[in-house]
Amino acid sequence: MLTLVKLLQSLVQALHSEGTPGQVAAGIALGSILGLTPLVSVHNAVVFGLIVLLNVSFPAAMLGWALFVPAGFLLDPLFDAIGRKLLLDTPALVPLWTTLYNTPVVPLTNFNNTVVLGSLVFAVLVFVPLYLTARWAVARYRATIGKRVRQSKWYRAVTASKLYNVYRLFRPEP
């Protein structure tokens, strides 16, 4: 239940933040990488750093993460298949993987795991389409029903919670 409330808060905060639709969409797209790929990976530390440092919507990133975690679990067989295809069934790529595998630090990313590589490749491929789709959707939302939602009681209840204060720390800057 708490997770659901947090997800709702993230959704509301993202859609009604001061950020532009592009900032919200970029947050969702970056968050989707966290959700689609196995969390405990070095590349996710980099992605998290980007979410924090870049002027994108942090709640949107959390929303993207939360939304794409179940998608990641569901698509794991696909990721595994993509990873196997790239790592094991494409001889032309073996020299690249061999070089990376024997390069310091790179193996710590677990790129040589089929699920990690498959999910990362998938997340990178859907990043731009997801960004464009999300930007269009946020803009349409704000132009249509966003104002009425902002004036509703439950919106005020959600934004009044303590989490909202934390959010304000990372809200996009103009």
């Binding site: 532009t20 592009g22 900032q23 196995p38 405990v40 750093g49 924090v52 440092l53 870049l54 002027n55 990641g72 679990f73 794991d76 067989p77 990721f79 595994d80 990873g83 196997r84 790592l87 094991l88 073996v94 993987w97 061999t98 070089t99 990376l100 595998y101 024997n102 390069t103 310091p104 630090v105 790179v106 193996p107 710590l108 677990n110 040589n112 795991n113 089929t114 699920v115 990690v116 498959g118 720390l169 990372f170 996009p172 800057e173 103009p174």
Partner: protein, 586 residues
């Protein structure tokens, strides 16, 4: 309106977050490493690996492990080894490539085969590589059809004699049918002789001949014609008699065939007896082959595990990925020439204790070099050697070339040997102090192995909890006075078709006792079987025999009677004719 790309004020929290991460690493690195080491070790060995304490000192490149316990993947309440302390001198830079290179390892206080309170095996709880190798090794061991000592059941089982499997019964049925058809054929033959008119004519001619004179040529000619008729009739009777004689001989042969079939049935029925083996080599196999095969199975498990984790060649290698909430996937290693292996232990000094339970446990030392996950990169085989006055052990894992060669051998003298339970019998051998030897070589798929136990102070023990059985008593009487034990088991061939030979000094002693005691029981069982065969066969065969005998007597009489009458008629006619003509009839 322009939008700034960076959120500079978040740098502070991000650095704080990073510092928190470093702090957590400092606090929990040892625990995480211990947890990872236990997890990886457990997956590799196929049994629980437990570590009391692990400390990583990256600045000095040291890893110290205290209280290492590795459970046995084969025995539920036994440890494979325990170590008081392991100190590893670690190369730090390869860690950045996720490679573990240990220059030197010092292991102190190694003990083998110590007891444990809980089952440490994990191969039955997972489907990892160790479980698969264990399953394959177990399947390999199952192919040895070790003969059980049949007397262990205490009685000889006669089994079930199925009448359908007795060949004498259908033979008797066939003979009965042939007897009936012969009887009908011969009856038809007798009927077709039609001797009545010929004999009547002969009697009438004889009457006329008695009143005739020498010049009465018509009567004389009639008499000669009648004699010719009698001769032809005799010829027909002779032909019939010949056929009957031959047919009766065939029927008698059929009766003999039934007896022969019955003898075969005796032999076949004897096969139903579950007789104990009386041959010494089979007794040796029955007593010690399970133990020997178990030793070889363990050696094969470790050899195959080494081949799985230390494969030859430089091709990419896929292994199961790390266990996590998400799918594990496969983790692929990409070894490269002149690069470091994923794991390398250059040198290890081992200090270990054998017979730890003894009042004065003996301490030994050994050396292990070149243990690596990529033998082709390291370029040299893994070697282990340990020697002391009473022990010699060595192993070589050579996976440098395409055909792997794994050899291991050990001879341990003067240590307390574990007890051996004789299969299916409530008798246990306690070799006490003795010599045990194991040699195992696996070159490609060719196996050559030897296991032996020698002791001159053997003690025999009976399991008190098991009720006395004939077999137990028998073996106990045969071996309880023997103080020497010498067992040797050898295996040759390929993994797919191995050959096992087991012998011991107990084989002949037990075989002789078995022959003496079991002989009477075998004879009684055979008598019982013969009686059962007789009962089932004679019910069909005896009437047939009687039928043949009756037919033989009957046909002899029925053929003899007309022949006698014909002979008498011919004799009378020829006699009277001779009197009248004084001429000998040709």
């Amino acid at each position: 309106m322009s939008v700034r790309v960076f959120r500079w004020r978040a740098i502070g929290p991000l650095l704080l977050f990073a510092a928190l991460g470093v702090g957590l690493w400092v606090l929990f690195a040892d625990r995480l490493a211990r947890y990872s080491a236990e997890k990886v070790g457990t997956a590799i060995v196929g049994a629980k690996v437990e570590i009391q304490r692990l400390h990583i000192d990256l600045s000095a490149g040291d890893v110290t492990v205290r209280g290492l316990t590795v459970a046995s993947p084969h025995e539920p309440f036994e440890n494979l080894l325990q170590a008081d302390e392991l100190v590893a001198d670690l190369d730090v830079l390869p860690l950045l490539e996720k490679k573990v290179v240990i220059d030197r390892l010092a292991a102190h206080g190694l003990r083998f085969g110590t007891p444990r309170t809980s089952d440490g095996r994990t191969v039955g709880q997972s489907d990892g590589l160790a479980a698969r190798v264990m399953s394959e090794a177990h399947g390999w061991a199952q192919q040895f059809q070790v003969p059980a000592l049949q007397l262990a059941t205490g009685r000889i089982d006669v089994g079930t004699l199925d009448p359908r499997n007795l060949s004498a019964i259908p033979a008797a049925g066939a003979l009965a049918a042939r007897t009936d058809s012969s009887r009908r054929a011969w009856q038809a033959g007798l009927d077709s002789l039609r001797l009545g008119p010929t004999l009547d004519s002969a009697r009438a001619t004889l009457q006329r001949l008695r009143g005739a004179r020498a010049a009465d040529l018509a009567v004389l000619n009639d008499a000669r014609r009648t004699i010719d008729q009698l001769k032809r009739a005799q010829g027909r009777v002779t032909a019939l008699e010949r056929g009957v004689t031959g047919g009766l001989a065939a029927l008698r042969a059929g009766v003999a065939g039934i007896d022969s079939a019955k003898r075969r049935d005796y032999a076949a029925a004897r096969g139903l007896l579950k007789l104990p083996s009386l041959a010494a080599p089979e007794i040796g196999a029955a007593l010690f082959a399970p133990t020997a095969v178990a030793r070889f199975e363990r050696a094969l498990y470790w050899a195959q595990l080494a081949r799985a984790y230390m494969p030859p060649g430089l091709l990419p290698r896929a292994q199961e990925g790390p266990a996590r909430a998400r799918r594990a996937g496969a983790t692929v290693r990409f070894p490269r020439e002149r690069a470091l292996p994923a794991f390398l232990l250059r040198s290890a000094e081992l200090s270990f204790t054998l017979d730890a339970a003894a009042s004065q446990p003996k301490r030994y030392s050994g050396r292990l070099t070149g243990l690596t996950s990529d033998p082709a990169l390291y370029g040299r085989p893994t070697l282990f050697a340990a020697s002391a006055p009473a022990i010699a052990a060595g192993a070589m894992i050579d996976h440098v070339r395409a055909t792997p060669r794994d050899t291991a051998g050990a001879v341990v003298q003067g240590v307390r040997l574990p007890a051996l339970q004789l299969p299916s019998l409530p008798v246990r051998i306690e070799p006490r102090e003795g010599t045990v030897e194991l040699a195992f070589a696996l070159r490609g798929d060719t196996i050559q192995a030897r296991w032996g136990v020698r002791s001159s102070r053997v003690r025999w023990a009976r399991d008190s909890g098991v009720a006395g059985s004939a077999a137990g008593d028998l073996v106990w009487r045969a071996v309880s006075g023997i103080s020497d034990l010498e067992v040797a088991a050898g295996m040759t061939g390929t993994l797919a078709r191995p050959r096992l030979a087991v012998r011991s000094n107990l084989d002949e002693a037990i075989a002789a006792r078995l022959r003496a005691v079991v002989g009477e029981e075998v004879a009684a069982a055979e008598r019982k079987l013969r009686a059962e065969v007789d009962r089932q066969v004679e019910g069909k065969a005896a009437p047939v025999r009687a039928q043949v005998a009756t037919l033989q007597r009957e046909m002899a009489a029925r053929v003899a009677e007309p022949r006698a009458r014909l002979d008498q008629a011919r004799k009378d006619l020829e006699g009277r004719l001779r009197e009248l003509t004084r001429i000998r009839v040709p």
